[in-house]
């Protein structure tokens, strides 16, 4: 295989970023996300143990379910007992809680925030609306299944689930992390084109990069 051929393949692997104006395209990365392989068994096990004990949650209330996060954060349910802390920006967070229904306008921000989060990252889907649309299953503006747009690790059913249920969901997430089952980020990388086509089907004014590094 000569160098020219290699370059061609590399160019095909690059993201088109067709949504942003041509003169601004140089300002954005056009590389695809890369799969991060786990380390050897014992070291990864130790890392997962550490990760499960310091979950930093993105404080982005994406629906009515975000109201359940307030009692969870404050003194009554006090999630800091479980080693969970809220963070204001996606760059510092590792858990993304989707609070219930998400409209098309919100799913655009959700995708953007999810992609900006640094790995390893986990998603908790809170409420029935994220599972099958809930009471908004026939709405023109809210999605029905969240797992077609971003990978989801734990679902918490209910409308609304109480903060206790949320704590149970966090504990389930911790178990999954320790067992090394939370590979949502790598799944997103592997099925990147499928996720992107689903997202672009509903987000019609795509004016951001194809992957928000």
């Amino acid at each position: 295989m000569n160098k020219k051929h290699m370059d061609e393949i590399e160019n095909q692997m690059k993201l088109a970023n067709a949504g942003i104006p041509e003169k601004e395209r140089d300002l954005f990365a056009d590389a695809r996300p890369v799969k991060v392989d786990p380390f050897n068994k014992y070291y990864e096990g130790f890392l997962n143990w550490a990760r499960s004990r310091s979950l930093w949650m993105l404080a982005f209330g994406t629906g009515c379910g975000a109201i359940e996060l307030r009692p969870l954060m404050t003194s009554r349910y006090d999630m800091s007992r479980y080693g969970i802390a809220p963070r204001p920006t996606p760059r510092q967070a590792s858990v993304f809680i989707i609070g219930g229904y998400s409209s098309i306008k919100t799913i655009k921000r959700i995708v953007r925030s999810y992609e900006q989060m640094q790995g390893p990252k986990y998603v908790i889907a809170l409420g029935s609306c994220t599972i099958n649309g809930g009471m908004y299953y026939d709405s023109y503006n809210t999605i029905n299944r969240l797992d077609y747009y971003i990978p989801v690790d734990v679902y918490i059913a209910g409308c609304m689930p109480r903060p206790e249920a949320l704590i149970a969901g966090f504990n389930r997430l911790k178990e999954k992390i320790r067992a090394g089952e939370c590979e949502g980020m790598n799944e997103y990388t592997e099925k990147f084109d499928w996720y992107k086509s689903n997202q672009k089907q509903i987000i019609k004014d795509w004016n951001m990069p194809d992957y928000n590094w």
Binding site: K105, Y140, R145, I202, I203, K204
Partner: protein
């Protein structure tokens, strides 16, 4: 209030007047005379607050009904000024010069009902629906279930119950025999 209605009748042609409560009244006026009556109510009668501006789709009559809900803080009276406009050529005069915040309502009405307000600031910018290319979704001829089925992915296994039947079956199976449930005829 009767005095005010009499006064309004002298000023404009009043199509209808409904008194719903002592503090809630509705008047229907002509489309052309709306700005006249609104500015009179705001400047001279103390209806200084525009609480909301909303639309109702009367698809059978081919009309949109706009409701301008005004509030008088001195007397605590709400007055709804109703206007009927054509559904096919949905266009209305903008009132953002009377109440500055009306532009936001008008922008929302343009997006959700397709009612145009020429001259209103930013009225054609997208508000909630970004990149919407169907007919406006709050119009009654828009089938939201069909759109949802086509656009979003359904998870199989969804079922619904009639609440009354479900309660009867699950909770009150032995309704007649149960001494715990108080019955009205006893």
């Amino acid at each position: 209030m009767e005095q005010l209605i009499r006064k309004i009748k002298g000023m404009v042609s009043l199509k209808a007047y409904i008194k719903q409560r002592d503090d809630l009244h509705f008047i229907t006026v002509k489309k052309e005379q709306l700005e006249l009556i609104l500015s009179h109510l705001k400047n001279n009668e103390g209806f200084t607050h525009l609480a909301f501006l909303q639309a109702v789709d009367f698809i059978e009559d081919g009309k949109f009904q706009l409701t301008y809900m005004l509030c008088n803080y001195e007397t605590n009276v709400n007055l709804g000024v109703l206007v009927l406009i054509d559904r096919d050529k949905a266009e209305m005069n903008s009132i953002h010069s009377l109440w500055a915040h009306a532009w936001q309502y008008q922008r929302e009405l343009f997006e959700l009902y397709g009612i145009d307000f020429p001259g209103s600031p930013r009225v054609h910018e997208s508000f909630v629906l970004e990149g919407w290319d169907e007919i406006p979704p709050m119009r009654r001829d828009f089938d939201t279930l069909e759109y949802s089925d086509q656009t979003f992915y359904q998870r199989p296994g969804r079922s619904t119950n009639d609440p009354a039947e479900y309660m009867k079956e699950k909770m009150y199976k032995n309704y007649a025999a149960s001494p715990m449930i108080r019955r009205d005829n006893e």
